[in-house]
């Protein structure tokens, strides 16, 4: 089995994995970081979104071995001391979630979007979230949360 070394939420990790192990399986089952969700097998829902060297990717559509040498951030990495990050707080304030299943992926995607474009317009937020599906909210409050979270992160 190939051995991989990577950084997850700032922590250096070395483990053996099978070639076929998906990054999301490694995160959830090996590292027990279950904030990253699996919502589909067609690479469409975005619930599994994490950051790979700062960029949003679907961790269900990547092998764990491909993350060798990379820096991964999961939703747990946003609140290391248990205090909500401003984007998480904005989702709470704006009721940007109902069941919460899509929320970790939404927030990880939103954080990457805001890192690339700190002052996005509503249209840019809607386009930016095209890879994340929510079956509950109708998106309205998610968009409001991302706009407000972006503002909070700027200040």
């Amino acid at each position: 089995m190939p051995e991989i070394s990577l950084t997850v939420n700032g922590e250096q990790i070395t483990k053996s994995v099978e070639g076929r192990t998906l990054l999301v399986e490694f995160i959830r089952e090996t590292l027990k970081l279950t904030g990253t969700h699996i919502g589909c097998d067609t690479s469409q829902c975005g619930a599994c979104t994490v950051h790979l060297n700062g960029k949003a990717v679907k961790s269900c559509t990547m092998l764990a071995v491909q993350a060798d040498g990379a820096e991964i951030t999961t939703i747990e990495g946003l609140a290391p001391d248990g205090r909500l990050n401003p984007m998480q707080q904005a989702f709470k304030d704006h009721h940007g979630l109902q069941c919460g299943f899509c929320t970790p992926g939404m927030i990880m995607r939103a954080m990457a979007l805001v890192a690339e474009n700190p002052e996005p317009t509503e249209t840019e937020v809607r386009h930016g979230l095209e890879g994340n599906i929510c079956r509950c909210t109708g998106y309205q409050n998610i968009v409001a949360a991302v706009l407000d979270g972006a503002k909070a992160l700027r200040s």
């Binding site: 070639g19 998906l22 890879g131």
Partner: protein
Amino acid sequence: MEDFTYSRPASLSDAVAVHGNADDAMYMAGGQTLIPVLKQGLAMPTDVIDLGAVWQLDGIAVSGGTVTIGAMTRHAVVAASNDVGRAIPALATLAGGIGDAQVRNRGTIGGSLANNDPSADYPAAVLGLNATVVTDRRELAAGGYFDGMFATSLEPGEIITAVKFPVPEKAGYAKFPNPASRYALVGVFVAKTASGVRVAATGAGQDGVFRVTVLEDALNDDFRAAPLRDVTIPEDNLMTDMHADAAYRAHLIGVMTARAVARANGRD
């Protein structure tokens, strides 16, 4: 998913050698098609050869009227490239409209062309711009590269290394995305070049991407969107599926072509 032997060769010759020595190997670029395929058990290779470390497949270069894009270049990189944006803005726009942000961070031009999904975007640009697909062993003109749905003239083990796009006088791309998958229900790439207008449609044809000659004839006479309203698009050989029938796709080809022409003419 069945297990396989994973390798990550650092050079083109190593990648080809690993392929040659394996029972049933597959190359992997960004995995944005291959991984879903493996998950569903639609392919069960003995070996997966990751092309991510092959240095020869990287980079974008513009010189002498040609834009050359390495096979492993991610869609997001093409979309954000100032070089591509200046030379062929329609190509950067096309790349920025593929799938979603996460897919664009991993998916590659080489993987998209090797897969030749009948609803993928890049095939329209390659055929519309009359680009050349460069492999580890030869160069293939766009017309001879595509070989029907999910089929190309690549031989077993052959690796796409780059795509060379001639810079047109002007060009535009417009797609009507399927709202669920974001693939093209119909996408049309229009290019005006010194040797005439080329119109390539994706998402519509039963045999994958194709040139729409009635529209090329009309645009060679008059490169404007308005007169295209009078052109009838033949329905023969257009796809009918759960998303749209052939008549609707024929209609969309006209509408998307008019939008692409308006964009090429700087009137969005």
